[in-house]
């Protein structure tokens, strides 16, 4: 496990990304998988092909090269349509009430921000996006819901995400995205990757249904 810092900033995320790319090259076929996250990079190697001393040596090389300066890739920009409404976002009105804002202001704050994909995990296609405007940040529900519909757009603390499949979940729901976030049949499987920049575009109920959105 490589720890590159202790907080969650776009700059640190760029360093994690650049490091991941360099580690991929440095370890080659000895690498089994990588899990980049906010401030860390989990490096999984094949212990029957190499050993930890060799891996550590190569990782030090990567980190030294990174300190000498590496360009930070900006990622692609991805726009995801969202139908924000109480019928698709069960917590939207409560979030507005708690923050002393109108529903329209909550929607504006959520959709006016450019988010960055900090990590993908937890479930297939689940992308952690940051950072939500502090005015609409909200803690996870004390009791998670048994069923959160696929496509639900949700907030937990200063993170936001789209549920890629129906699943249990404890995040605050504000809307629904009709675009599939994880489709095993599609190529690519996911519209976003770690490091990409994501914007949400507020759409109408009609547009949501036309794009294949499903109401609960």
């Amino acid at each position: 496990m490589l720890y590159l810092g202790e907080d969650s900033t776009p700059e640190l995320a760029s360093r994690v990304q650049a490091t991941a790319t360099a580690v991929r090259v440095a370890l080659g076929a000895d690498l089994v998988d990588l899990v980049p996250s906010y401030a860390s990079l989990l490096v999984i190697y094949d212990p029957l092909r190499t050993d930890h001393m060799s891996v550590i040596k190569r990782l030090h090389g990567v980190l030294e090269a990174a300190e000498r300066g590496v360009s930070t890739p900006g990622g692609r920009e991805v726009i995801l349509p969202v139908y924000y409404s109480p019928e698709t976002g069960a917590d939207l009105e409560r979030l507005a009430e708690q923050s002393g804002l109108s529903v329209a202001e909550v929607i504006a704050l959520h959709s006016d921000t450019e988010y960055r994909v900090y990590a993908i995990g937890f479930a297939p296609g689940f992308a952690y996006l940051g950072h939500v405007d502090p005015r609409i940040a909200a803690p996870r529900l004390a009791t998670p819901r048994q069923k959160v519909p696929r496509g639900s757009v949700a907030i937990a603390d200063r993170q936001t995400a789209v549920y890629p499949a129906e699943s249990p979940g404890g995040w605050n729901l504000v809307g629904n995205c009709p675009q599939r976030l994880f489709d095993p049949q599609a190529n690519p499987t996911m519209p976003v990757a770690v490091g990409d920049r994501v914007r949400f575009e507020a759409i109408s109920r009609e547009r949501f249904l036309a794009l294949g959105g499903e109401l609960p």
């Binding site: 996250s37 995990g121 499987t189």
Partner: protein, 316 residues
């Protein structure tokens, strides 16, 4: 040509060695909880190591052959019967179309592997046929096996009825010692808490599954509640707020925010996964060097197993 599922038992899943290199889209590994028993099953059958087999937990699997082929069962001591006649485990058996195959419930251990010559023909997803039910990926429509499922496999008469000598068969007890490489948020556990973790026995709770084994015992305190979410490797040991350790296994989530005290040696995590609820676990700290040696020794052993034709007695 197939084996047809009559009864799946408590939990039966199609597995191959697992799905690797897909963490970038959030997919976990899946694969056999006990890779040693799985690999020996494929070796006995003369299969490629990445063939598919059925992993049965606890027992109760019943199949009907609709093909002439060979099967082999390894792992937990679930009594195997073909047409009601008991057959040894760790042994290749010929089966003919119409034969009824059944696995009883395990007296020792928890996971068995039923392999077939050349494996079951299952379309891989993301490079693997391993079933991860939580992700609805792999196997047959991402599901556990159900009555009536048809598991396609090829007919063959070209297998030897090999057998692993009992001296070399793994034994599953209800107590294991798990080697742990301390790491991750180790510094957030005081010396007292670390000593408590390494010096007490824990028991396997009812909540033990392919995602992870939740243990019960002296609560371990951590001076932080959560961490910035980070990647979770196989065998990582999470300590959630209630202080009860969870050893994360094949179907774990790939990212999480609970503090971790270290990671279990994969070989020992596989032995842990052979424990049923109530089984006893002790942890012992090991170095990466020792882990490395253990992995190489296990690999060498696996490659040199004496697989012999079963001395043929007159058929009963």
């Amino acid at each position: 040509m197939s084996l047809v599922v009559r009864q799946p038992g408590l939990l039966s899943l199609i597995q191959d060695r697992g799905r690797f290199g897909q963490h970038a889209i959030g997919l976990t590994n899946g694969g056999p909880l006990d890779p040693e028993a799985f690999d020996i099953c494929q070796q006995l059958l003369g299969n490629r190591p990445d063939c598919t087999a059925i992993e049965t937990s606890f027992g109760g699997l019943e199949l009907e052959a609709r093909v002439d082929t060979f099967i082999c069962v390894t792992g937990a001591s679930m009594p195997l019967a073909i047409n009601g006649r008991e057959k040894p485990l760790w042994t290749v058996h010929s089966v003919l179309a119409g034969d009824q195959i059944s696995l009883g419930y395990a007296a020792e251990g928890c996971r068995s592997y039923l392999g077939v010559a050349d494996g079951f023909v299952i379309t891989p997803q993301f490079g693997s046929a391993a079933t991860v039910v939580r992700e609805k990926i792999g196997g047959i429509n991402g599901n556990k096996l159900a009555p009536g499922d048809v598991l396609p496999c090829d007919a063959t008469s070209l297998r030897r009825e090999l057998h692993l000598h009992p001296d070399y068969q793994p034994r599953y007890h209800n107590r294991v010692t798990v080697g742990v490489i301390p790491g991750y948020q180790q510094s957030h556990f005081s010396r007292l808490q670390q000593r408590r973790f390494f010096s007490h026995a824990y028991s396997v709770s009812q909540r033990c599954d392919r995602m992870g084994y939740r243990l019960e015992g002296p609560a371990i305190e951590c001076d932080i509640n959560g961490i910035l979410s980070e990647g979770i490797c196989f065998g990582a040991i999470q300590i959630p707020a209630d202080g009860q350790p969870i050893v994360l296994l094949n179907d774990r989530q790939t990212i999480g925010g609970y503090p971790k005290i270290g990671a279990a040696l994969s070989l020992d995590a596989a032995r842990l996964a052979q424990l049923q609820p109530g089984g006893v676990v002790n942890f012992t700290a090991i170095t990466p060097h020792r882990a490395h040696n253990a992995l190489h020794l296990a690999q060498a052993r696996l490659q040199r197993l004496p697989l012999q034709p079963l001395a043929r007695k007159s058929r009963q």
